[in-house]
Assembly symmetry: C2
Homo-oligomer: 134 residues x 2
DNA sequence: ATAAAGGTTCCAGCAACGGGAGACTCAAGG
DNA sequence: CCTTGAGTCTCCCGTTGCTGGAACCTTTAT
């Protein structure tokens, strides 16, 4: 199977699949005589796996680790669970930060009249001297 | 005031301040005879302003726009409010995505025994054939 | 006089690809 | 057989917002 079909089956851009091959994340099964990358079912499964794990917010190195766990029949599910839980904690932190940010922005935007006057609490908030205040 | 002091006052790394000067986002007031960047109070205020807006999730181009609004006495607060509200909507979208992601991960992690067995619902979930399923 | 601390420039690189050039290959149609 | 068009190849540059390092210069303190 050529790269275009593999990419379509995995739901990834061709460029991305080629990139994954370049960095040795998902290698094609081999090459055709004319030099085309050749993907078999196993390689496509890995691509699909990576596609999903990427969508779950895992970095390439993390995907690499998960992929090796996936490919290794003797893997310990505890390892996988540990990775997933660490990622959940990360997401929680990020969510809290983003929520704070959003509430802060809502507060200043609400205080802003939004008319044509040059006074603007948003800008004043940004320009505030202290960077600690909420 | 030299770059180090300006950076400290703005709460930014020196490298970042230099970078902002390079891209013309916040220029120093001038240069000393020996070529050192010289920051006055106005420049430091701009640095602090940018530092805050960056922390609020605005991109550099957006900061540039806000900065020009900030620097322009005749600015319209409506422009600023519009920018802030667009950013809030963005944050909401991003928050929803991250929340979905997190819940999905929690679900699969919960289903995983986490013991030494090779069975792992997390990996199976990642490896799932359909990419449409919740 | 000398050493440490801080400044300068430029160059390289990070994540994770995307865009596009220029050459090649393959499948179909006339 | 030839042509056309789509797909593929490699290669290199660009993105975002910095960060680190090298090699050198200036200032400050002792």
């Amino acid at each position: 199977m050529k790269i275009g079909d593999a990419a379509r089956e995995a739901g990834l851009p061709v460029k991305t699949v080629r990139y994954y091959a370049d960095i040795g994340l998902v290698d094609p099964q081999g090459r055709s005589e004319s030099g085309y990358r050749d993907y078999d079912a196993a390689a496509v499964a890995k691509l699909r796996f990576v596609s999903r794990t990427r969508r779950f917010g895992f970095s390439i190195p993390e995907c690499r680790e998960l992929l090796s766990l996936y490919a290794d029949d003797g893997r310990e599910s505890a390892d996988v669970k540990r990775l997933a839980e660490a990622k959940i904690a990360e997401l929680d932190t990020r969510l809290a930060e983003l929520t704070d940010l959003r509430n802060e922005l809502v507060r200043v935007a609400t205080a802003c009249a939004g008319d044509g006057r040059p006074d603007c609490p948003i800008l004043e908030r940004f320009a505030a001297l202290d960077s600690s205040g909420g």
